[in-house]
Symmetry: C2
């Protein structure tokens, strides 16, 4: 099984081309031989909304108004993303965000990995990166609402289902 | 069964005394004869942290650093509270807050009703007030994590348990 290995922390990578300057955490696919391709995780929020929509399209999510997506990104406590960088081109391949009270709780939403990068450990790596970042902000209670098919994925990351009988609930209008 | 009846919406109540001016939504216990006592729900955030701590003490919650509680209140999307007002004195008798991305999702935390006001419909009234306020902010996805003993309380308010198998999960360190 391949997995992503963290190489450096919060390293600012500067290449010769302005467009390839990328502030983030580089990760490397074990055994990766293509030195031209790099993968990064970052908390930077400069995400093109159309590129994000394209990523969400790729996994079949229903489209949402970009005006509201922009607002959600602005008011999310944390936005993390994964990027494939080749020379001076970069491509959004993963995304997640969290709401928070900036003190105790964070709730993770909209976790998405491009289908071509699924089952390669990228999602696991991105979520570990996000948990580390949330912990570094002194957030002790990290929560999420998991679809049935990803419950085991999150369990392997240390998430616990209904701890002490606590149940996730959603409000629906009558 | 007694219950709280909403009388007015967003009414600014002005009394003769400056201290008794209270911006909020008045509610009334059915059959209530004591005209001197009024109950209000409000989204105003002027909450004395020590009074909030006292309320949380009354239901046996573990104490939390006031510095962090203050931060959580500041960064919560919405704070609602219930007050008992007698003449120019007001007393905090209920509290809840919600984190949000200001666009799609809100998650409700720290719902507390003073023991003397429990089982009288005040919690139900306060949560209905909060849901109404969240809906008025165009939030469509209202979520929470419910302890086992309050699952039925939230169910009666229209909250659904694990809809489509979606599970609430909490991250715990290894």
């Amino acid at each position: 099984m391949v997995f992503w290995k963290r190489l450096f922390n919060n390293t600012d990578i500067s290449n010769t081309d302005q467009k390839s300057q990328f502030k983030g955490e580089p990760v490397k696919l074990k055994g990766q031989t293509d030195g031209q391709t790099r993968i990064f995780f970052t908390r930077e929020r400069e995400i093109d909304l159309y590129e994000l929509e394209e990523l969400c399209d790729a996994v079949g999510w229903a489209r949402r108004p970009l005006r509201k997506v922009k607002r959600a990104l602005t008011y999310s406590f944390m936005v993390v993303s994964a990027w494939e960088v080749k020379g001076n081109r970069k491509r959004l391949i993963g995304f997640a965000r969290a709401t928070s009270d900036h003190a105790f709780n964070a709730t993770i939403w909209d976790v998405v990995i491009h289908p071509r990068f699924q089952s390669k450990g990228l999602g696991k790596g991105m979520m570990k990166y996000m948990i580390r970042q949330l912990r570094s902000e002194d957030i002790s209670n990290i929560t999420l609402f998991a679809d049935p098919q990803v419950v085991d994925f999150y369990r392997r990351l240390g998430f616990v289902l209904d701890p002490e009988g606590i149940k996730g609930m959603f409000w629906y209008p009558d």
